[in-house]
């Protein structure tokens, strides 16, 4: 009979409310249950009560770290409904802000990951470097988070020559510190011991669980929306999609590390080729009655928006599928067979975002578990 260790929903080790029920034999995890839904805010319903323009700011507030991702995906979907194309300059500015945000998200993740395994010095280093990127965002958009750069049919703020010089100078600093981070990750033996061959997600499992983003790429699944279905200025810039085959935490870390260098490259190219022209369209048509899908590659994986319109000024239905929803499914297969001490870093390794996730509740039961009370409880609750 395995011992059951409940973690959460409110627990000092968790930054956001979620519930983990782990079944252990000694130190080894043999089963478990993951329960989300404590951060439900009813955003999808609220979106149907606001005008198309107001929902941009609402979409940004789904998640604080990846806010431009949400607003870009939403505006692209509505632009598809309106049959309009934003001007070239707007598409490039979107790409620059998008990638800058990816940099800050990945550096933040490195910090959190280091903190989870008790390497607080590196955590402070990463967050110090992240500050440079947040300064870029503040200079361009006027805010550090919830940037509000996107609007329907373009962007709201321009990148001036001074901004360009500022960003280029900061990119040199970031590249230098990213190389330092790479040195820490690849050369530190203690760090490697903590993350190598831990939390393995095989390529087969990754395909079966439909994981996305760095979690999938760390397991050797070659997917990236930026390359597969290019949007914004991605058709015009050159970049590589880093793939790692091992599927352990180190692989996912290395994927993110390589993505940092790719992002720096993309930002430099976009700044170099920034076309002249208007920032946004002057007049917007009403969206046609119908439905549209939008996909972008968020920092955590593929983000999907579905909007149904009835031709009025309010969307009839907005469905948001965030990357964390699918990635959270992979937590349990990663944890099985590992020790309790590895749970925090395994949790952190997929970069979960509970507030992103909690528009749905997902249920998973331990394979060797004899207690399935929680599953039936939830089934009863949601039937």
């Amino acid at each position: 009979m395995p011992t059951v260790i409940p973690i959460g929903p409110f627990h000092p080790a968790l930054k956001e409310a979620s519930f983990f029920k782990l079944q252990v034999e000694g130190e080894k995890i043999v089963g478990g249950d993951v329960k989300f839904g404590y951060m439900h805010r009813g955003i999808e319903d609220l979106a149907t009560q606001k005008t198309y323009h107001s929902v941009i700011f609402l979409a940004e507030r789904v998640c604080g770290i990846c806010n431009t991702v949400h607003s870009t995906c939403y505006t692209q979907t509505v632009e598809a409904l309106m049959n309009i194309e934003p001007p070239d300059r707007a598409r490039y500015i979107r790409t620059i802000v998008f990638e800058t945000e990816r940099l800050q998200s990945h550096l933040l993740w490195f910090g959190v990951g280091m903190h989870e395994i008790g390497y607080d010095t590196a955590y402070m280093y990463m967050w110090r470097e992240r500050e440079h990127i947040v300064e870029i965002l503040e200079a361009i958009c006027g805010k550090r988070v919830n940037l509000g750069i996107n609007t329907l049919g373009g962007v709201r703020r321009d990148i001036t020559v001074e901004h360009r010089r500022f960003i280029e100078a900061k990119m040199d600093i970031i590249e230098k510190s990213a190389k330092k981070i790479a040195k820490i990750i690849t050369e530190d033996r203690i760090l490697k011991g903590r993350v190598k061959d831990i939390g393995v997600l095989t390529k087969d499992d990754a395909r079966k669980l439909c994981v996305v983003g760095p979690t999938a790429r760390g397991s050797g699944v070659d997917i990236d929306t930026r390359r597969d279905e290019p949007y914004a200025a991605y058709p015009n810039v050159e970049f590589e999609v880093p793939i790692e085959e091992n599927g352990d935490i180190l692989a996912r870390t290395l994927v993110r590390l390589k993505e940092i260098f790719q992002s720096i490259g993309i930002i430099r190219q976009a700044l170099k080729n920034l076309p002249e022209g208007p920032l946004s369209l002057e007049e917007l048509p009403y969206p046609r009655a119908g439905e549209a899908f939008g996909r972008v590659e968020a920092h955590r994986g593929e983000l999907l928006y579905y909007i149904r319109s009835n031709g009025s000024n309010r969307p009839e239905r907005v469905k948001i599928r965030t990357p964390s929803v699918v990635n959270n499914n992979a937590l349990l297969p990663m944890m099985l067979g590992e020790t309790i001490a590895d749970v925090p870093i395994i949790l952190a390794s997929i970069d979960p975002c509970m507030s992103c996730t909690d528009r749905v509740t997902l249920i998973d039961t331990g394979r060797n578990s004899e207690r399935e009370i929680l599953l039936s409880d939830i089934r009863k609750q949601f039937r």
């Binding site: 606001k50 323009h53 107001s54 941009i56 700011f57 609402l58 507030r61 110090r128 500050e131 503040e138 200079a139 958009c141 006027g142 805010k143 919830n146 509000g148 709201r156 703020r157």
Partner: protein
């Protein structure tokens, strides 16, 4: 190992990554989206900001003589939509970001705009500055048709209900006819 620690300590001393914030005030960059404030000279009280505000932080209340526009900083998301939408360029995001207050009621800004009373029946129907500003906007067009501004003043100083009253109808129709004729001449 010790050498690295020393190096890092010296580097941090020479080039610190934090500031002594409350003592040394933080000045945001240009274009920072801080607390929004009304421009008392420009605001006409049309309420476009209240209609568009995404989180609904701006509201207005019509009392007997004034329209009270209120912006609640507790609900504001500092998106800058009001600044973008304002037709009169009367609300601006400032660099203010230290908005903590002891009393919830203090966390707001606003503007009271006087109403204009209908010169016939005395009913309120439009903020006074808005009427004035509207008149200024049509002045150029009227000048093009050689119609003096004063001819319009009485017509737009009556509320919609009085404008269609029997007493005011002839003047209204005459004005419309003058407009049509002037347009035909042009």
């Amino acid at each position: 190992m010790k050498k690295n620690i020393l190096l890092e300590a010296l580097r941090s001393l020479a080039n610190p990554s934090t500031t002594k914030y409350p003592k040394q005030p933080y000045v945001p960059t240009d274009g920072y989206k801080g607390a929004a404030e009304y421009d008392k000279d420009k605001c006409v009280g049309c309420g476009a900001c209240a209609q568009e505000c995404p989180p609904g932080a701006i509201t207005y209340e019509d009392t007997e003589s004034t329209r009270k526009l209120r912006l609640n900083y507790g609900l504001c998301s500092f998106c800058g939509r009001c600044e973008e939408i304002c037709p009169w360029d009367a609300i601006h995001l400032t660099k203010k970001f230290e908005l903590a207050v002891y009393d919830r009621k203090d966390a707001e800004t606003g503007i009271d705009v006087p109403f204009f009373e209908c010169i016939d029946c005395g009913r309120i129907f439009l903020p006074e500055p808005q009427m004035r500003a509207s008149l200024e906007r049509v002045e150029k067009t009227l000048a093009k048709y050689k119609i003096p501004k004063e001819d319009l003043v009485h017509l737009i100083s009556v509320c919609p209900r009085c404008a269609f009253s029997v007493k005011n109808m002839p003047e209204r129709r005459m004005f419309m006819r003058r407009l049509v004729e002037a347009k035909a001449d042009a």
